[in-house]
Amino acid sequence: MFRRKRRGSDFRAEIEAHVQQESERLREQGLGEEEAQSAARRAFGNVMHAQERFCEGGRWRWWEHLKQDVRVGLRMLRKNPGFTAVAVLTLALGIGTNTAIFSVVNTVLLRPLPYKDPDRLMDVWRYNPKENVTRDQMSYADFLDLRNQNDVFEGMAAYRELHEIMVSGRGEPERVHGTIASANLWEVLGVNPLLGRTFRAEEERPGKGNVVLLSYEFWQRHFHSDESVLGQAITLDGASYVVVGVMPAGFSFPISAEPVGLWLTVAPDGEMANGRGVAIYDVITRLRPGVSVAYATGEVRTIFARIAAQYPKNHTEGWDVRGILTMADLVENSRDSLLILFGAVGMVLLIACANVANLILARGANRRREMALRTALGASRFRVVRQLLTESLILALLGGGLGLAAGYWAMESLVGIGPQDIPRLRNVRLDESVFSFALGISVLTSLLFGLVPALRSSKLELGDALKERAEGASARGQSRFRDALIVTEVALSLVTVLGAGLLVETLWHLERTHPGFDANHVVTFTVDLPDGFSDPQRVAFLKDLLPRLRSFPGVSAASAVFPLPFLSGEGVTTRFEMEGRTLEPSQMPRADLAAVDNEYFRTMRIPVIKGQDLAEVKARPERAVTVISEAFAKQYYPSEDPIGKRLKPDVETSHTRAQMAEIVGIVGDVKTSSLREAGGAIVYVPVAQFPIGATTIVIRAEGDPRPLAAAVRSEARAVDAGVMVFSGKTLEQQIGTTLGQPRFNALLLGVFAGLALMLAMVGLYGAISYAVSQRTHEIGIRMALGAAPRLVLKLILGRGLRLALAGTALGLAASAALARLLTSLLFGVSATDPATFAGVAIVLMAVAIGACYIPARRAMRVDPIVALRHE
């Protein structure tokens, strides 16, 4: 029918010609102009009708039929509001959750980085399998050698995030997140400034680095978009910097939880520039076109091996470098959990589809006569299938529309509760790709749940179908298919419930993991001392402040530490010389160094396992002391008593005077960055002996520690007017941020598993109810013949339980295969934990019994008289 090329307009022209000829003839017979026209049209009959019949035979047929199908479909759906509502809501649930998770996956995992040719950006870092270091930064000197010797990169830049920089000089003083970077960073990223310029190569040299670039957002907020700020000096952490440029809106680097407000150049001096022991820089590179990641990595490894051979002191055995695309690097920690969540909502959608397919099949049984009638009146099977599929598509689109609205709401909530460490989560938007996704899965879904029912309903024996109670062979086939759907639903829901169970257990284990100190009632403050404070002045300040805080009402202990456990970022990992042993650098102990006030262990309630607490030791200038963690003792003094032995940190910066210190005590291990890790080796030195870094005050309160913030601030100011006090987070909050992802995962997978379970049980309930309604007659006969109600109950319940059992078995088998994917997210529980498997199976069966019991009871109460009269 599609072969005809004749257009509708050609047909219309022919009709018009006809009418003109006819009216001319009539005029010749003596009729007036108008009379002749109308008589000619009357004689022709209905022009529209003729055209419609022309169209029927032409290519418009397809469109006409579609319109007709949609009309009929809408009428059918309107006539069955209950069915329509249930199906649309079910689909909306499935499509909505998928849309929400897709919007996150799209932004976080799929959207390219906002730089030029982001697929040529590669991160380079060091690692050392021999020392269990999976990732470490690079020293500036090593970085320079790599940059100068390679020929695989177009550019190579080093950078380091600075947590907070104090901006003053113009407007209200403010602390912003900053990054220092080598001058060519913007060349590597391929991004130009909005105003001014980026850094020049010579500004990377010591003494030349007093220039700053502002982010658009910070420029807008702090400088009210004033262009005259270019070329002016602002004060950063007390030093003067000249603003040379403003980056375009939306630019940020690196991509991290906190937006970066300003960039400084790397201007390493002295030790920082030449020392290969101070490895504090991240490295990003731009691959030359056509160079693969693998090839570039090989080249960098070769150069690095050469550097390592040249400077063996700082490059002990096992150090190597690795390269990975920046995009892959960025999402490495959140990819697994997002993909698992995506998988879970996929299962929810499949269950929703199975439910709707079941509904349609059940309804299809009632519509068999309608279908038979259509077929008898000459509708082809294709036409009937298309009619049914159109109905499915309408359902799916309605569900998709509702789902998109629900998904938008869910997406906003996701962004709200999402943990900070999922990159770019704040940028999640409802954009055209999310729309296309929602539309795409709606259409796909309609095929998924509509095709089989449509094919099945349309394949029927005319004679059978037109007869009222025929249960033909096709009906038995349908019931088998419906059973298979229910079994699949139960299996899928078991898989998601099991996954959720494992993640909830993980969270439970994490929350009960003791970090090695008592975080309750402990509040922490970061103290910024005025610039130019010498080390003795810093020590004196703490000596003044801490006793004041301790005497404060409500304070049970107060101390100072650097670095604070669970405060991300700054930590000092170094090697130690051991007195009396001459060791190769690679055999020297490697541990975290922490500078603490004497009351630290008491304040944090870290137990002293052996020897003395620092507080008990009379420290004299000529007797340096130290306390080591249990892990350090076990690792490096496996067969001797470490008390009385002496250690010296191998740190050679100009600010510290490392000396041999006597080990006076051993304290319990503490976890310092994640609850998942085992407490590592730590060497504690009194802050008076080793005043490194910024200082954090920790205070143990007797009750609620939060009201102490104001007091701490005023006490600190009283000691020195130039002091700034920040934060005031409790230690519990500090630990809580590391639980963000596990909580997010457990919460979402829990919600999705709940939905999956609910949908599967609604499906099971529906299937059993349907079976009962179909078998009312049979049950009536059985009861009339003397079957006890209990027997009927057993009959119906047995059928439901067989389905549930089959689904559970299938689900357990699938879970055993799939749970391995969760391994990287789990803690304290194995992916194939038998107790969890058994528990989930029992819960599922219990709920399934509930879902089958209600219709089974109804069957038991069937009145035989009514049932037999029923038909």
Partner: protein
């Protein structure tokens, strides 16, 4: 042409229109309006061709390859679509005519005998 007279005319039986079109075209190419006129005139104004029904029929015949159409100028120099018989159309005309004659003869016999019987 009064409405009364129109009503008295015979409406065409389903399927007979095709036959009449083919028959009309045996005298040469003609456009739609001409075909309608010819059928009415030849039947002494007894048969009514609903002009609207004519065109789908023409379309159908064209689809089957029994007639073909070309745009041309009519006698009074108007643009019109002219239809002509194809050779398949001629064969079909013979077939249909034979069928029609047998049918009318048979019906005539039945009606004739019934008329005698009543």
């Amino acid at each position: 042409m009064s409405t009364q007279k129109e009503k008295e005319r015979l409406e065409l039986l389903q399927g007979t229109l095709d036959l009449l079109i083919l028959r009309t075209l045996i005298f040469g190419a003609q456009h739609g309006q001409g075909i309608a006129r010819a059928i009415q005139q030849t039947s002494d104004e007894e048969l009514l061709v609903e002009h609207g029904a004519l065109y789908p029929a023409l379309q159908r015949l064209e689809d089957r390859g029994w007639i073909f159409a070309k745009w041309g100028a009519s006698s009074n120099n108007r643009k019109a679509r002219f239809y002509s018989l194809t050779s398949a159309g001629r064969r079909q005309l013979v077939k249909e005519t034979t069928k029609w004659r047998r049918l009318t003869a048979a019906i005539g016999r039945i009606l004739g005998s019934e008329a005698e019987g009543s």
